[in-house]
Amino acid sequence: MEYLVVFLILVVFLQTRIMELHRATYLLAVQSAIIAGSCVIVGVSSGGGGFHAFLPGLLTLGVKVIFIPWAILRLIGEIKDESEINSNINVNYSSLAAAFFLVMGYILADRLLPGTIGRDIFAATFLTIMTGLTLIVMRRRAIMQIVGLITLENGIYFFGLLMTEGLPLIVELGVFLDVLIAVVVLVILTGRMRLSFMTTDTGVMRKLKG
C-alpha cells in the first residue's frame, strides 16, 4: 500500500507539469490503475474475500483504466490542432502548489483525524483532490478539464477507500455508472465544441455574463 501511495503522489506531481494531451491521458490511466490496485488490496485485507472484494477493483480497471482513457484518446485523435494552444501559465507554480497541498494534507490529517492510521494516504488523497480542482480551474483546454474531473473523483474515491473501505456495493456501482455517463456526456460536448468553435479551448466560451 505504501508503495502505491508513493507512486500516486509521483503521478499527481507529474500531472501538474504535463501540458500535452496524450501524456495527460496516459497518466490518468496510470493513476486509475493505482487506485484499482489499492482497491483490491483493501478488499483482500478487510477479510471479505470472494467476489465482493474484487468487484470494485475490477470495475475501476474496466471503467477508469480502460474505457475512459480510450474514449478520451479517441477524442484527441479527432482533434488535429492539438499542440497549437499553449496555456500561458507556468507549470512550476502548479507543482509548487501541489507541494503546498501535500504539506497541508499532512497538517489537516493531524488536526482533523488524529490517530487515523493512514496519515500518508490522507495527505495523498488531499493532494489528488486539490490537484484535480486546480486542473479544472487553471487549465483552459476541455480535455484537461475532463482529466481534472476524473482526478478529483479518483481522489474522493481513494478517500472513501481509506475511511470506510469503500461505500456499500450498490452505491459504488451507481458511482461507477455516473462517472461513465459523465465522461460520455463530456466527450459529446467536447466533440460539439470542436465543431462549433473550431477549438477545444474553453477560454473562447465567454458570451454568457450577468
Binding site: L152, I156, F159, G160, L167, P168, D178, I181, M205
Partner: protein, 500 residues
Amino acid sequence: MESSISQLLYVVLGVPIVFSILAVSNLFGKNLLHHLSRLSAVIVGAAVFRIMMIFNPGQPYQGTYLLLDALSLWMMIIVTLLYLAFAFTAEAYLDRDTNIRYGYLRRFSYLEGRFYALSHIFVWTMLLVVLVNNLGLMWVTIEATTLVSALLVAFKFTKTSLEAAWKYVMVCTVGICLALLGTILVYYAQLQAVGQDMPLDWVYLTAHAQELNPALAKIAFCFLFVGYGTKVGLAPMHAWLPDAHSESPALTSGLLSGSLCICAIYVLLRNVVILMPTVGASFISGICVGFGLLTIGLAVPFVVVQRDIKRMLAYSSMENFGLMAVGLGIFLPTAVEAGLLHMLNHALVKYALFYTAGTIMETYATKNMMRIHGMLKQSPRTAIVWLLGIAGILGMPPIGVFFSKFHIIASLFSAGSMWRGILALMLLAGIVIGILYHAMRMLGGQPTRKSAGELMGFMDTAAVFTLLILSGAISATIHELPFLGPILQESVKIVMGGAL
C-alpha cells in the same frame, strides 16, 4: 395495501422508461409520439394520485431500495404535476419550433423523439431521487439528473447553449463530488457509531442519529451543504444557474427550475434530518438563513439590470430558492410548512412562466425584453397569462406563492430576529421593482410585431392556466384538502424530526 403501493410504484418508475425507449427508437410518427407522451404522463399521474389516496401518512412504505414516506410523496406530487404540464405543453412548443423561420428541429425530425426520450428520462431520474431510501443512492441519482439534463441544456447545440452546458456539468459535478465526500463522512460516522448494518439507510440512520460523532457530523454537513447547495444554486455557487436556465429549451428550463433544484433541496433536507441532533439546530439554521438571504441579495441587482427574459426568470428562481433555504432553515413548523408549500407553488408558477417566456421569445425572435412591447394590445390572452404569472411569482394574492412567501417572512419575524425579516422584505421589494418594471414594459406601449394574434394555442393555454389556478387553490385550502393536507403536515413532522 403494501403490495398495491409497490405495484403502483413500479408503474410510476416503469412507464417513463418504456416510453423513452419507444421514443428514441424512432418508429413512430410525430402525432403518435405526442399522444404517447401525454398518455404516459397521464398514467404516471393517475398512479401517483392513486398512491396519494391509499397512502397512510403515518405508515411509510419500505422496499429494498425504495422508501415512500410523506415527504417523498409530497415531492413526487410536485414532480408529477410538472411532468403532466410538460406533456401537455410539449406539442405546442415543438410545433412552434418546427414552424418558425430559424426552427432548429425542422431540419432534423428525428430529434423530436430524442428530445422526448431525454426529457422523460430526466423526469424519471427525478422521481428516483425522491424515492430511494439510501443517502448514497440519493447522491448517485442527483448526479444522474445533472448528466441527463446537461444533454437537454445543450440540446440545440448552439454556441451559447454549449457554453452553458459545459459550465453546468463542470460546476455541478465538482459541487456534487464534494457532496460525495460529505456522504462518505456520514458513512464513516455511522461505521464508528453503530457498525456495519444497513449502510447509509435513511430510516436506520434517523433512528440512530443521536449516536453520531458531533465533530465529524459538522464537517460532513459543511461538505453536504456546499455540494448540494451548488446544485440548488445558492449564492456563491450559483454560476451555472442563470446560464443553464436561460440557454436550454423553454420546457427544460421549466423542469430545471421547477423540480430539479428542489430535488437537491430535498436531498439536503434528508441529510440535515440525520445530522441535526448532533450538529445542533442553531449552526445549521444560521448557515441556511445566511446563505438564503445572500442568494436573494445577489439576485436583486441582476434582476434589475437584466435584458434577457429567461435570465430574469432564472434570477427570480434563485431568489425563490434562497427563500426556501430561509424557510426550511428556521426550523419552526410554520416556516417549514411554508417552505415545502413554496416548493410546490414555485414549481407550478415558474413552469408556467418559463413556458410563456419561451413562447414570447420565439414569436418575437428576440430575448431582449427591451424590444418587446404592446403585448396587451396584440395578444391579450398571452399577456394575461404572463401578467398573472409575474404577479404570482412576486407574491401577489390570487396565486399561491403569496401564502407561502407570507408565512416564510412572518416566521422570520417570529423567529426572534426582526432585522432579518426587514432585510428579507427589503430585498424582495427590490425583486418586485425589477421584475415588474420589465414585465410591464412588455405588456404596454405600442406594438412592435407586425402581425397581431395570439401566441399560444388552446391546449397549452389551458395547461398553463391550470398550473396557476392549482397553485392558488391548493395553497389557499391546504389545511382542508383531504389527501394533500395530511401529507404536508406529516412531511413537516419528518423535516422537524431532527429538531424535536
